[in-house]
Symmetry: C2
């Protein structure tokens, strides 16, 4: 099993991703797609007069404020616009795709953080009406049922809390959990860079290999964004995933190229 | 099997529908939900600066103009906002719901009308870039797979054309086709009236029974909107559905009340 994660970035070549899925499936490779959509959500939220807000937690972590209206817009974009865009492209290419959110059949199940402690201008505040959470487990029963019957699952946040509430969960983390649950051979994360860059956005500073046992040393000099990605990769490997690859989603045959050695391989 | 169709009307009591689904399932009744969302789509399309347009065909039939952008907004509302709203409410009530559009696994498969002949101010025109179509068949394989494994399908337009394109299909018609495909005992269509009214919107003119063999005579005096609903019902019965019930979706236990005799029963 190869789990492919695509972001919502507009420079991603979705047709190339679809064509590559078709080619790989024709060779007998079992695949599963997880997609995001943060960029598009920001644009739609602006257009609907509910612009994105970001909050800083007490520990200094910046995250999207997800009130109920934001969750609704998030679902419109992730589950409506983008999930059905992927399903339609795959169906047109002859792949019998089935688009599902992590809420459906509680595929991504986790814990809701209904209150968040934040800091605004130095003052501590408790934020309520927040609909974010973390994926604690992936319920593979439904996915295995679909795959076994020849369907191609296309997954997207949100997830479900343990009481069935919709929660905004991180797409990369959800994809890593899916890959872990299937003990995937590889998790391929396609972005709008050639992989992890030592000096972002300088593409000539691409890091090609990170050995799992070197990840700790590596993280000591990595910064925010990259650190989080490497940590996620190491976690996925800890859950049994063979290799985590960060690769370019703007090129032809992006998944095959990644599996063939392109991008940053963490193993 | 009871197929329940709910519209996107804002006066529908969705919590009452969910509670009734839970109660009926507890008694062993097998159910399946199909929902619409036209009203909400109009509001979101307005907010996004792409207001709904309606066109009149050569034969005088008025329909929604579905250009590519409208299709995208349609998917945002039907598959994102409303489908996940229903799935979340059901999950919170302990029903393991799985939300799917007719595009997923090609559940609603049909023919795209890619050009539409219309009349604008007396002149004939051919409209291209249109993404509407009709449901010709319901692929029950995926639905049976899910139901057999204990999941509760929540279905919504769009459908898929025979080449896998997303097509805007009529929700009532799709629900009737689902009911036909399952040879359902009943198709319950919940609206914001007590049933079919002889003189719309006068609720005291509720028609309680229409015998299938009287439908033709009935249609001779019925007008546009009601005629279409009765025709759809007769079609569903022709496909093996026991009874088609138009009932009030604004009341407590709306499905149970309909099955118990409320609304307009066509059999």
């Amino acid at each position: 099993m190869i789990v492919v994660k695509v972001g919502g970035g507009t420079s991603l070549d979705s047709d190339a991703v679809v064509a590559d899925i078709v080619a790989l499936r024709a060779k007998g490779t079992e695949l599963l797609l997880v997609h995001g959509g943060a960029q598009t959500t920001n644009a739609v939220a602006e257009a609907l007069g509910h612009p994105p807000q970001f909050v800083t937690s007490e520990t200094g972590h910046v995250s999207r404020r997800t009130d109920r209206r934001t969750l609704e817009i998030f679902e419109m974009v992730y589950c409506g616009q983008l999930n059905k865009m992927w399903v339609e492209k795959l169906q047109r290419a002859g792949v019998n795709a089935v688009g599902l959110s992590g809420l459906d059949g509680r595929i991504f199940e986790g814990t809701r953080k209904d209150t968040i402690r934040i800091r605004v201008e130095g003052r501590r505040m408790v934020l309520r009406d927040d609909w974010t959470g973390t994926v604690d487990r992936v319920n593979t029963t439904l996915l295995k049922l679909l795959i076994g019957a020849g369907y191609f699952p296309v997954l997207t946040p949100p997830g479900a809390s343990t009481t069935g509430e919709a929660i905004n969960v991180d797409g990369d983390r959800a994809a890593a959990m899916v890959a872990g649950a299937f003990t995937a051979e590889a998790l391929v994360i396609l972005t709008d860079t050639p992989g992890l860059l030592r000096t972002f956005p300088d593409e000539s500073t691409l890091i090609t290999r990170i050995a799992k046992h070197e990840a700790d040393r590596f993280m000591s000099f990595a910064e925010g964004r990259m650190k989080k990605k490497v940590m996620g990769a190491v976690e996925a490997i800890g859950e049994g995933v063979g290799t985590v690859i960060f690769a370019d989603g703007r090129v032809a045959a992006p998944i095959s190229r990644a599996l063939g050695g392109a991008g940053t391989h963490i193993a």
